[in-house]
Every structure is written in C-alpha cells, then in structure tokens.
Amino acid sequence: MTNAALTKKKRYTQSLWVTVCSLFTAITVGTLLFLFYWIVVGGAEVISWSFITQMPEQNMTAGGIWPALVGTVYVSLLTIAISVPLGIGAAIYLNEYAKQGRLVRLIRLSIRNLSGVPSIVYGLFGLGLFAATFGFGRSLIAAALTLAIMVLPWVITGAEEALKAVPRSFREGGLALGATRWQMIRQLVLPSAIPGMATGSILGLARAAGETAPIILTGAAYYLPIIPHDIKEQFMALPYHLYILATQHSETATVRPIAYGTALVLILLVILLNSVAIFIRNYYRRKNEWL
C-alpha cells in the first residue's frame, strides 16, 4: 500500500469513529431534550396555580396535588435536617482530625459502599428499624430517617469537598496563633466552607425529593388528602403520587393529565433545587478570591 493510500485509509477510519462518537453524543442530548419536551408538553395543559394548591378530589381524578407537594417538601427538609449535621460532622472528622490510616480507609470504603446500596434496600432497612423496631410506624419521621441515611454518603462527600476548598494556609495561620483545633475549625474553616456545604446539602435535598422506593416502604400514603401535622403521620409525596396515578389507579386513563402535571411539578422542583445549589456555588466562587 502506498503512503498516500495509507494516509487516506487512516483519515477514513478516523472520520468514521469520530462520527460514531458524535452520533452517540447527539442521541444523549436528543434523549434529554425529548424527555423534557414530553413532560412539559403533557404537563403544561393541566398545571396551574390551583392545580398546585388544591387538594386532590374524587379519588384523585380531579383537583390538585397540594398535599403531595407539601409532603415531599416536609420529608425532604426533615431528611436534610437529620443528615446535614451528621454528614458535616463526619466530613470534619475525615478532613480535619483524622490521620491517614486504617480507620480512615475503612470509613471511606464504608461510605463508597453505602452510596452503592440500592435505595429499596434502604427502604427495607428503614421499614425494619425505624418503622417496626423503633415503633414510629410508617410515618414522616421513619421515611425521613431512612432517606437521611441514604443521602448521607452524598452529604459527606459534598461537605468534604467544601472543606478541601478552604486553603491550608488558613488552618496553619490559625494554629500558629495558638488556636485550638476546634477554634480553628469553628472560626476559620467552617465560615469559608459553608457555601460549599450549602450547595452539597441542597443537592442532597433534591435527591431526597425525587426518591420514591424507600418511602413506599416507610411512610408514603396512597391517598391522604390532608396536610400532615405530626411527624408520626403518614404523608403523600409527589413521586409516589406519580407512581400511583401512572400504574396503580383504577382509572389510569382518566388521571393521565394529572400524572403529567405531577411529573412536571416534580421535575421543576428538582431542577429548581439544583439551580439554587449551583447558583450558591458560583456566587461564592466569584466572591472568594482564594478559591
């Protein structure tokens, strides 16, 4: 084969594979756009202020999704209230106190494994421990505790990233002035890490809000058109509501528009939370010169 022919063949192979890669990337983007398009078009017809703020009526065939939205907000906030202090504490230990060694490797291994445990297994665990053994029953608190354990690996990882972004020189400067380790952490490290931790926490919140499998077992109610006012009550939740409307309802065709609307509200909620998290991250990144 001549040199020119060889080069031509090379060029041909190259463009073939580059085309393949581009094509798959285009499918990825296309799929995402399609998903949005389908949900937005389907949901836009029913979504309105009253759809969001009204109780469901006539066995969910009419009315709105207010209790499901409130239930999701409640369970997510409760989840974060439990997991964020624990996660930040664990991250502080790993990043500020721990010396590299066997214990730290074991902790990191556990965190990675926890993040790989299927959500339904968390659900089973929560059902057995919080609902049955602790006697909370299927309830808001049992679901929140379950979700809190599930998002814990993510919260820890996020908080650790925030701590790592704080320059080492702050810590050295503080310790060299005779600060104790806790004074140094409390007064120098944490104030600079809080925006990053807030970002991580809100991302955790978004995960908790979209999660369904664990709450099916631990507290979500099929149809309960009231706002829960105690953490030991069951609750409705947007993702579970969508599941019910889509597959479990006796008249799935009738409630289809409501299902679209629920899906759209859920997507918007999750995107809103993520946007807020990203906004906080970027805002503080600009503001702090050391980052």
């Binding site: 010396k99 020189s169 050295e172 400067g173 503080g174 060299a176 002035l177 005779g178 104790t180 120098l188």
Partner: protein, 275 residues
C-alpha cells in the same frame, strides 16, 4: 506615638552590636541533637545550636536543605504533616518542646509564626488582628480596638487601613497582607517570631518595608527568619545558620559567616558558587 516619628538612638553601633551578640545574651532556644524524619526520609540530621534572645537569627541554605522544616519544628507546626518523627530536643524556657506535657496552645502563642505566602483569613482587617486576642479570651471591645490599633501601628499599616478596618483583608495588596499577618502575630504577644521566607512572595518595595520592620521588631522579640536571599540575611540578621542536606554546616555571627566562613561549603554558598 507612631513608628514614623521614632528617632534612631545614636549610640555606638559597633559597641551595641558587640554587646548584643556576646555570649552573655540569654538563649531563647537550645537545640540539641535534633533529627527529623518524614516517614523514612530524613529531613534534619543532628542539629545543635542556640538561638539568642532579642536578636535576628537567619537560617540560610539551598532549597530542600531543611531550613523551613527546622523553623516549623520550633513551634511544632511541622506535626501538621503526616508521619513526622523527631529525635533530640529543643529547650525553650527550660522545657523541651517535645515534652508530651507541653501545651501546644501556649507554645504557639509564645512563638508566633509568619508564613512565606501572606495568609490573611477571609475576615475583615480588624478581625484578622483581633483573632488572636479573641481566642485567648479577650472579650472587651475597647481593649480589642486598642490592641488592633497598636499592632497595626507597630507594622506601619495603621495609616493605610485605619479608614477601612471592616474591609476584607483579602482586598489588601500582597505587601500589606504580609504586614497584616505580622500584626496579627504581634497581637498574641509572642516572645519569639518565626518567619518563613517572609518576603519571597513580595515585590522589592514591600520586601524592604518588611525588612525594616524586622529590624524594629527585634527590640522586643527574638526573631528567627528563614531566607533564601543571602543579602537579606546579611542585612537584617545578627546570627546566621547555614543548612545543607538537613545538616547544620555552620552557625556564627552573621558578619563572620559572610566575611570569614570556617567551612568550605559555607564559603562556596555565600560566594554564590552553588545553591
């Protein structure tokens, strides 16, 4: 009384110098057979010498000779690295700093430190200086203000920042930041100040300001300064220690180190033949 107005006292400089470096001056540190390892790498090998009170001691040597490590060992900041092992002793105030009973908070309050790269906290100028006194229990607002003003005057920064004490310290220039870090260190009322190449990240004018400041400060503090700049060591220090490959090659009065070194390696280094 501000620093600017201070008249240098006219006494016989040479006489004063001789008096200061004479052996009768109290030792602030007595380093004995100090060795240090990072894991299995030996960074310091059997260092022994004494640091004199209220003088400037310069530590010079090529990069990687262990001079910064030695400095950080004096207030045990070196232990922030993982896997550090030491042997030998550093006697400070009749106490071996490696003694397990030593209170690191007190040790580091008594032995202040200024770093190579200015490292103000992401707080206001005021809060940077007030940080030390606050963590050591000064709560009185009036007293804090006094300390902050005094320390900023001491480093010649007061007139530049007095109208914007609540601005972020990160808004200051590099040279101002370094003087702020020195002020922050003074606010804890240390006896000794350790400086790790304090001017290497600064422009020449800011460097000169910091050098002048060091000369003023030695009236009140014992200062150990690590520098890679031999002219600087010659200008500001009373004693100089030359480190090479983790060993102390020579330690003497600065004028002798630079004019009449005893060791060939010192001679080669100070005349610029290597390093």
């Amino acid at each position: 009384m501000g620093i600017k107005e201070v008249e240098p006292v006219q006494i016989n400089v040479k006489e004063q110098f001789e008096a200061r470096v004479s052996e009768s001056v109290r030792d602030v540190f007595q380093v004995e057979e100090l060795s240090l390892w990072y894991g299995t790498n030996q960074a310091l090998n059997s260092i022994s010498f004494s640091v004199k009170e209220k003088q400037v001691t310069a530590i010079i040597g090529p990069s990687g000779c262990g001079k910064s490590t030695f400095l950080k060992t004096l207030n045990r900041m070196v232990e922030l690295n993982t896997n550090v092992q030491t042997r030998g002793s550093i006697i400070y105030q009749d106490v071996d700093v490696f003694d397990p009973k030593v209170n690191l908070v007190e040790l580091r309050s008594a032995i202040g430190m200024v770093f190579q790269k200015p490292n103000p906290f992401a707080k206001s100028i005021f809060d940077n200086v007030a940080f030390g006194p606050k963590i050591h229990g000064v709560r009185n607002k009036k007293k804090l203000k006094e300390v902050v003003e005094l320390c900023l005057k001491r480093v010649g920064l007061w007139d530049e920042v007095k109208d914007r004490l609540n601005d972020s310290a990160l808004s200051l220039s590099g040279g101002q930041q370094q003087r702020l870090c020195i002020a922050r260190c003074l606010a804890v009322e240390p006896e000794v100040i350790l400086m790790d190449e304090p001017t290497s990240a600064l422009d020449p004018i800011s460097s000169a300001k910091v050098e002048n400041l060091i000369e003023e400060l030695k009236e009140l503090y014992s200062i150990v300064v690590v520098t890679h700049n031999m002219q600087q060591a010659a200008r500001i220090s009373d004693h100089t220690a030359f480190f090479l490959h983790g060993e102390l090659v020579e330690y003497d009065r600065t004028d002798r180190i630079f004019s009449n070194p005893q060791d060939q390696r010192t001679k080669d280094y100070v005349t610029g033949r290597f390093g």
